[in-house]
Symmetry: D2
Subunit: 337 residues, 4 copies
């Protein structure tokens, strides 16, 4: 961290700033220029907030040089993290396919989906039991019943299960069935939930908030990591912009950037980003070419009848075609599906 002092700052101001930051547990080194005096901070700077230092008398500007996240960073752990879920590994050569409906709607729906997406090549079954919905009047999921159906689908298909957890007290309940806890975009900065997930033994797939910078996503991951859970999978799913043709704007740069900044595996959800079925295939191909470790694809036995997000869901045949089309792209970048 670098503190640029105002031209008008007195020697006392400068000394006071030095005393204060050193009390916070970091070392400082002073650089007195003709125009500007600069104080550089060295040490555990991660715990110091810019806004607090900005506030000291005589300070013109505070600039963070190092990254504000630590456990999530490549500097802290240079080798890629492998997150294992039963026999499946995120962060290796194989790109993991997660597929299933937005919401568990019935026993038949989820059992049929499990069997069909497994046949097509998926390793993990998704399906929401607890659904965050913008409107209190929309379908909120089958809740406990949905978890039961997921458990049965797991047993029958052998697929691992990922499902969303919406509040800290749901973590143990959902964790009984889920192999991976999903934290949704709206909850990316629900810190009580991040802490509860950080104390769970289960891997966590953390979706980027639609208003979150990549730095904030990594800070949210840091909450989970610093609470003791090292099995975090990051997930890009589109951000909110002014563009209206798509539900969200998929930020494809997130894939190579997160891979560079962090050792954690990186997934991508093209279905939620696009909001339209037609875009799922081209965006999935692009994501594979860009280096993604996993994809989450919405698949529904009958998208037309889906209680939520049908417009962006593939049916079984479309999903099967998608897997076939991804194979050569994966090979072209030395990966496999």
């Amino acid at each position: 961290m670098i503190i640029v002092m105002k031209t008008s700052a007195t020697p006392e101001d400068i000394q006071t700033v030095i005393n204060k930051v050193e009390k916070m547990g970091v070392k400082s080194h002073l650089s007195e220029g003709k125009e500007k005096t600069i104080i550089g901070l060295v040490g555990n700077v991660v715990s110091i907030s810019e806004s607090q230092v900005q506030n000291f008398e005589g300070v013109e500007k505070v600039l963070r040089v190092s990254k504000p996240f630590k456990l999530a960073s490549r500097e802290f752990k240079p080798e890629k993290t492998e997150v294992k879920v039963n026999g499946v590994s995120f962060g290796q050569k194989k790109i993991i396919l997660i597929a299933g409906p937005c919401a568990v709607e019935s026993r038949e729906q989820i059992l049929e989906t499990a069997i069909r997406v497994k046949e097509a090549g998926a390793s993990i079954l998704r399906g929401g039991a607890f659904k965050p919905r913008t409107s209190p009047y929309s379908f909120q999921g089958l809740k406990e019943k949905g978890l039961e159906f997921l458990a049965e689908a797991k047993e029958k298909s052998g697929l691992s299960i990922i499902t969303e957890v919406m509040s800290p007290e749901q973590v143990p309940l959902v964790g009984e069935v889920a192999d991976i806890l999903q934290i949704g975009a709206r909850n990316m900065q629900n810190y009580a939930l991040l802490e509860a997930a950080g104390k769970s033994p289960k891997p966590v797939l953390l979706k980027r908030g639609m208003m979150a910078t990549l730095e904030e996503l990594l800070m949210a991951a840091e909450y989970i990591l610093s609470n003791g859970n090292s099995k975090v999978i990051l997930c890009e799913r589109g951000i909110r912009t002014f563009e209206k043709y798509t539900r969200n704007t998929l930020d494809m740069s997130a894939v190579p950037l997160l891979t560079k900044l962090s050792h954690l595996p990186v997934c991508l959800d093209p279905s939620h980003a696009a909001g339209v079925r037609d875009l799922v295939l081209p965006l999935s191909k692009a994501a594979v070419a860009a280096g993604v470790d996993g994809l989450i694809i919405e698949v529904h036995p009958n998208p037309e009848k889906a209680l939520s997000d049908g417009a962006q869901s593939l049916n079984f045949d479309e999903f099967s075609t998608l897997v076939d089309k991804l194979k050569p792209v994966a090979e072209a970048v030395d990966r496999k599906v």
Copy 2:
């Protein structure tokens, strides 16, 4: 809601759509044009999601004409809602001033602030006991101890207390001390929390998420209202944009728009929007002129020493000046401070 059918839609497609939507409990009326067939929906359309209907065979476009929120709307309740907190009323001629530090840092800090902001004209004391922070390494608040200090500040000053609640299980605990529960921007779509707040007897101040549309804010309010709590105060606090000089971009249009769309009182937080002390006064004046029902101002005995958000906090004298300067503006628009 209006359903525009594709030119290629068959009479069977049209009949199927009609059957489906009528099964959802609304009435339909058909308009067959030369080019397009249009199905209008009448009745409890609020419970039907566009994305589900969009998904039906033969549908080209679904257009919502009526608003997706109901209890929060002016149509549902034409007269302005008055939210009473002890002797204070939001939504009346008097503009309510809420003041205090970002975080409760010590007993002395909050007691002194309570007394001084009351003298200057504030009716309600703010102060975070539980603090949502981007970094797990930043100060997270004094928690239960902070609540104790707030309780004492309330007793000594006679001011009502507003403080943030971050998870459903905190609602009863925080509710013991708080006269108003604050739901922060990051939690605006934390539905478990909205539901818990909806079941509390306490008034709730709901902050707009930094990437939430006004419609989403009103839908979040609808969660609280539909769970039985009618004492909701809306709060604009800036949205995230590309502009970097300010922490957030204050959306001043939110004040007249929310007032028009909804009967709920509307507050504004210029401190968080701007992120810089200098802007708090001009934005507060503007908000008063635009018709706000209350203002939340960060005040700290010594902003330079604040553990969070010091750069945007006023000291006691600055707050007192602000109140003085707001008075003539309030009078100019037939309100008072």
Copy 3:
């Protein structure tokens, strides 16, 4: 400007950077810390681009401490600039009202408007002769004929005229009639046009691009100023965000911020920002309270018949009411309308 060198930078890298920047005409001072070496630049840093320096071998980060604009800055010219247009002065106690239709549609329309807005209190008549429109199929303005009508309106009413100029070769033609050249939001970074306006003797009202930062607005002003025209008026008119209830999101913070960063007068266009008539009054009041030097209000004899932007136009009575309602607010902040 501060250059932070990588930990891995060699002494040769550091010396090379120093040589390069000194060749660019600035002085450097070196600060060697235990962890990081920092090079500070002093002098005419305004002409050095961060991206170029970022690019040198061994550089980790480049941080601009000073502002990239100069002639537009308060540091360069501390006292407020007064832009005089015939008898009217922008940047003084009186808030200047600019009113008129989006487009000049007919001789009668503009003559009638001129007389009526003058009666109500406007000092300057607006009206587009050349209109930038998203669609090539929309009405593009009356062009030269429109200028003629504006000239007649000026003569008959005594009001000064502001009208938009869309390309460099139009500058002389439009300048024959216009007392103020308007550069629209879409052309804020049309550099050929900025240069042509910079060489004109006429004052220029420069509108903020709908996706431009305030810094970019001031850089665009710098183009005009550095070409020799010091009579620049800045104008906030809303930026593009994700919010859909308003046409644009009015950035009210721009008013106090531009006033602090620059000596140039600051206007605000609530009509374009809001896109809806109902919001024009509350946003105008707010702008006056926030310290604006002028307002641009769309007024049309019969907004229902307007060929463009009717939804956001006031009729004569509404404009007259607006002026009346602004008066007490202006007085409350020691200004007048």
Copy 4:
């Protein structure tokens, strides 16, 4: 277009609206429901603006069902447009590579680049002679001299040339040298320039403005097309969002969407979108997988010495590697590089 009338609209209001729209040259069909009356418009709706109709007495909402662009749409021309430039074709199986520096800096630089990028597989040489720069103090290009060097590079290498045109009066001059006129992001809505380009016989590469929706990009293309030039190539280059790690947010969905909405070829500029060299390769691979017709890559003999955009430029070896790595990805999606 669909006009929803207010519940309070009188039969006269409705008749008046019908009369007005029919006078605009379209047919209307009326649908009177129990709650709402709806007027559908059929015919040349493209010339009617929503905002004008919105404005009529009794109108609640105006909804555009058809697209506001016509000549650019797939409906108008279902087969893909092939834009031929000398022997090269945009919109065919081969993905066209455009490479070269941000700015022409010297004869040697551009000649060397031309030869090296041709060897590596590029078909077209890019290089700015006239440069739009945020700051008036930054390097603005070699202008006419730069065009001369480009002409020589063309002669020596046999590559076609693309270079930017910044104002209408530059079109003939630049057109003497350029095989493709580039219209930059900042000028996407510079209508005088679009019209001038529309009258030129040269193909035009139109970059999406950083604040422009895809619809607005297609409307800008419509300006060129409707002025008689059918050789338009669309180019995605990133949009402005809140994310700070990248210069812009590349909107990868634009590739399949523009391909679906329009018959025009679609290029992508990963260099400007990312702003960092490391991202150019993964984003290029992703774009190829997503179905792009061409790529624009910044290449510089010595990126460290580049006068602009060096941080995002590849050197010759990096470009050569990129071409090699794109080949298998192109084959995987049945294209070639």
